[in-house]
Amino acid sequence: MLDSVIFYFFAGVAVISAALMITRSNAIHSAVFLITTLLATAGIFLQLRAEFLFIAQIILYVGGIMVLFVFVIMLVRLDVPLPRIRSPWGKLVAVFVAAAVAGEAGFILWLARKIPGQGLLAPLPAPSAKLAPNTEEFAKGLFGAYLLPFEIASVLLLVAMVGAVVMAKKRTDTP
């Protein structure tokens, strides 16, 4: 009972603020609703006992990326309204994509109707017993079984960062 209430609260907040995010014309308002969406998703992670994922989502997306987003948006002149793009094709494509996504979601729900506890209105209750401390499990996986992919990813990120610094650096003509 309580599990359902919490889940539908977070899910509702996530969906409604996602909708608000794409309909606001003010970029900062959109950013605020995006933050709400990310926080609500983090809440769902927490309900699924994925504590590390919850805090990683908050630190990286909300505390890091969104702060930078807001920082950049602040520097843009917002009082000049953007020109609205109106083309007949845009609407057609939008309708098509929306129909495809809705169809997919409906198909998944239709497939899941037979599995007990997976129907439309009754999500599986979160595991009530204590799980293994999943931060430790996460670290063991990352630095044990998947060490090589992890290191490759970090080297890739480092290269991207160095590249960004080099590209952003002011070029001086004098040698």
Partner: protein, 454 residues
């Protein structure tokens, strides 16, 4: 409907300790924040050879309450051109973030809201990483140049120093081997040492970074009064302003609690393993009895009836706490002893946090404000490399002591010496770099002048 009521009842029955702690934190932290302001004014007055607030209550003890009442009845202004929604939202966010991150702080053995989460300290750090959002949004929504400059400075500063704080925390966590807040304190009890002695460089870097994260002098450029009026808070007044203010002081308590938990032994009393210092256990009782007696002795001399009543109330609370300490300390009567353990832990914890915040105040009235480029250079060129090297050094020290069986203190001294050497090299290199940069700037400007002259 009945089942929903039963659900709520069952929820309360299961979680009543946590709920009680949450209510206590939300109710008491603003009060503590108010008293930190009073202590700050008193410390400032002492350092400048003045008396500070003396009028309301003995030695100004009731000043924070008078200030709070004044702030609540002040006019609440919203500028016409401000963004109404975000102007309302930003201070609320600031305050909520500060109070939420206190949810995982362990004030005592059971005195903690989220006891079982194994991300513990990461929760505190992660939630308080949302703090900059409140500042940035508030500064932007005010639609004022001073506010927006303050907000931008503050974001740049917070983002830079969060990295240093993160690495400093990692260097302490390596010793504890867990993220769970209570387990970190227990680990220091088991290791018979506070981690500040094992990772001194980590503690110092964390201290500097935490001053920068709370936007306090000498890192207070986001609200530099002499340059920016009040930075991002310029347009705020009344209750909204006090929310920002409370958020800022609650944030000081949060960074203080992280530092105390990780480096200064959390709720443990100093030297918990030394038996002949057992008389320290009586200190909290004595403290509460003494402050109760002080309040009673001064209550009759207060000029206003409300002040007298308040003093009597404070005295009654002090005596009640002292009574719990005296009754429950020696005898292990279960419910009372549990309350005693929590309050006893909270006493030492808050004492340590107070000492930590006292260092903040001391630095504030001693050092002049940094310039923005100096701040960035300190953060990126010195503190972040130093914190990184320190993490490696702590790892090496742990490998030496547990892998090769070297004495723990010898390994610690060797690696700390290495870290300090790297730090000195960094400072030297940075000084040279800065001198060269300013020389080239001088040369460039003289060239420009020459071209105009010619």
């Amino acid at each position: 409907m009945n089942s929903a009521l039963h659900g709520v009842l069952a929820f309360v029955q299961t979680w009543w300790v946590e709920l009680l702690c949450a209510v206590l934190i939300v109710a008491v932290v603003p009060l503590i924040a108010g008293y930190i302001v009073l202590v700050e004014r008193k410390v400032m007055a002492d350092m400048q050879a003045r008396l500070g607030p003396m009028r309301v209550g003995p030695h100004g003890l009731l000043q924070p309450i008078a200030d709070a009442v004044k702030l609540l009845i002040k006019e609440d202004l919203i500028p016409t051109n401000a963004d109404q929604f975000i102007f309302w939202f930003a201070p609320v966010l600031s305050m909520t973030v500060a109070l939420t991150s206190m949810g995982a702080v362990a004030f005592g053995p059971w005195f903690q809201v989220a006891r079982d989460i194994n991300i513990g300290l990461l929760f505190v750090v992660g939630i308080s990483a949302l703090g900059p959002l409140g500042i940035v949004l508030g500064g932007w929504a005010s639609n004022n140049h001073y506010s927006i400059i303050g907000a931008m400075r503050s974001t740049a500063q917070l983002v830079s120093y969060e990295t240093t704080a993160g690495f400093a925390i990692v260097s302490g966590l390596l010793f504890a081997g867990t993220l769970k807040v209570s387990a970190i304190v227990e680990a220091q009890h088991a290791d018979r040492v506070w981690y500040v002695f094992l990772a001194p460089v980590g503690f110092i870097t964390y201290l500097i970074a935490s001053i920068a994260e709370t936007n306090r002098a000498p890192f207070d450029i986001p609200e530099a009064e002499s340059e920016l009026v009040a930075g991002y808070m310029t347009e705020y007044s009344g209750f909204r302003w006090s929310l920002y203010f409370l958020g800022e002081y609650a944030n000081m308590i949060v960074v203080g609690s992280i530092g105390v938990t990780l480096f200064l032994g959390g709720w443990l009393r100093p030297f918990p393993n030394v038996p002949w210092l057992g008389w320290l256990d009586a200190l909290p009782t004595l403290f509460f009895v003494a402050s109760g007696v002080f309040c009673v002795s001064r209550a009759g001399k207060q000029p206003v009836r409300v002040q007298q009543l308040l003093m009597w109330a404070v005295a009654a609370i002090c005596f009640a706490v002292a009574l719990i300490f005296m009754l429950a300390g020696p005898y292990e009567v279960q419910p009372l002893h549990r309350i005693y353990a929590g309050l006893y832990g909270a006493f030492w914890f808050l004492l340590k946090v107070g000492a930590y915040i006292y260092v903040f105040m001391w630095l504030r009235f001693t050092l002049p404000r940094f310039r923005f480029d100096q701040l960035m250079r300190l953060g990126w060129h010195i503190l972040i490399p130093l914190a990184l090297v320190n993490v490696i050094a702590v790892g090496v020290a742990m490998a030496l002591s547990s892998g090769l069986g070297m004495n723990r203190w010898l390994a610690m001294i060797l690696t700390t010496g290495g870290t300090l050497l790297v730090g000195m090299l960094l400072i030297r290199w940075n000084d040279k770099h800065a001198a060269a940069a300013s020389a080239s700037r001088l040369a460039a400007s003289s060239e420009v002048e020459d071209s105009y002259a010619g």
